[in-house]
Amino acid sequence: MRLNISEQNEIVRIEVQEERMDAHNSGDLKEQMLQLFDEGKCNLLIDLSEVRFVDSSGLGALVSGFKNASAREGSLKLCCLQPQVRSMFELTRLHRVFEIFPSSEEALESF
């Protein structure tokens, strides 16, 4: 999975540079986040602007990151969801779990 990772003010932003987040590639995101947690980084912003499709494995990877971040007193937030990706969070009621922002600026300010 192609991920673009950058850091500012102790917040790590992960841009998922894939059209699809599914059972084929979501494991990569999960592992990448685990590595960041190991490095003591626990404030993550996942930028989904390029993602057009997410399945239950993709959601699962995000839930994993969310739980790990919270357990470390950090947080995982999401931004830039395309409308159909947003619907997936509603379908699974995960929009009540995640903080979701329209833009990365708004998300970064909220940490």
Binding site: S56, G60, V63, V97
Partner: protein, 140 residues
């Protein structure tokens, strides 16, 4: 005029084919003659149920063995769209599963619930040594 479309696909038991098969579901949604609803939504939903059902066949039934293969068929008539995903694994009790509630913080277990939510009828049948997850969507 009546419309009958049949697509039958067999690929190696590898998740890298999920995207291709999901896309076939999407193009089908865009091409269906009689559908009155939101086509973009139908396209996403077919992509999604195909992805969920195939990922289960690949990862659970075939235990991720990349030398096996996995088969799916899609049939659309004027009334219904039926997706069948075939596996030769041990099978599972889908009714039991349908009763379980996924917790917000569960990392897995959302595939079958999604399929139940998006499709109008879902069955898991055994025919000889083959299991078939049969998912029907009424088109009007």
């Amino acid at each position: 005029m009546s419309e009958q479309i049949d697509v039958d696909i067999t690929v190696p038991n590898q998740t890298k084919y999920l995207g291709m098969i999901g896309k076939i579901g999407e193009s089908l949604a865009h091409t269906l003659g009689h559908y009155q609803g939101d086509r973009e939504e139908l396209a996403y939903h077919l992509n999604l149920v195909l992805t969920e059902a195939l990922a289960n066949a690949i990862c659970h039934a075939n235990a991720g063995d990349p030398t096996k293969e996995v088969r799916v068929s899609i049939s659309a008539s004027d009334e219904d769209l039926i997706i069948r995903v075939f596996d030769q694994g041990h099978g599972f009790d889908i009714q039991q599963l349908a009763k379980l509630k996924v917790k917000e913080t569960d990392e897995s277990g959302r595939g079958i619930p999604i399929i139940f939510k998006l499709m109008d009828q879902v069955k898991y049948l055994r025919e000889g040594s083959v299991n078939i997850l049969e998912m029907t969507k009424h088109l009007h």
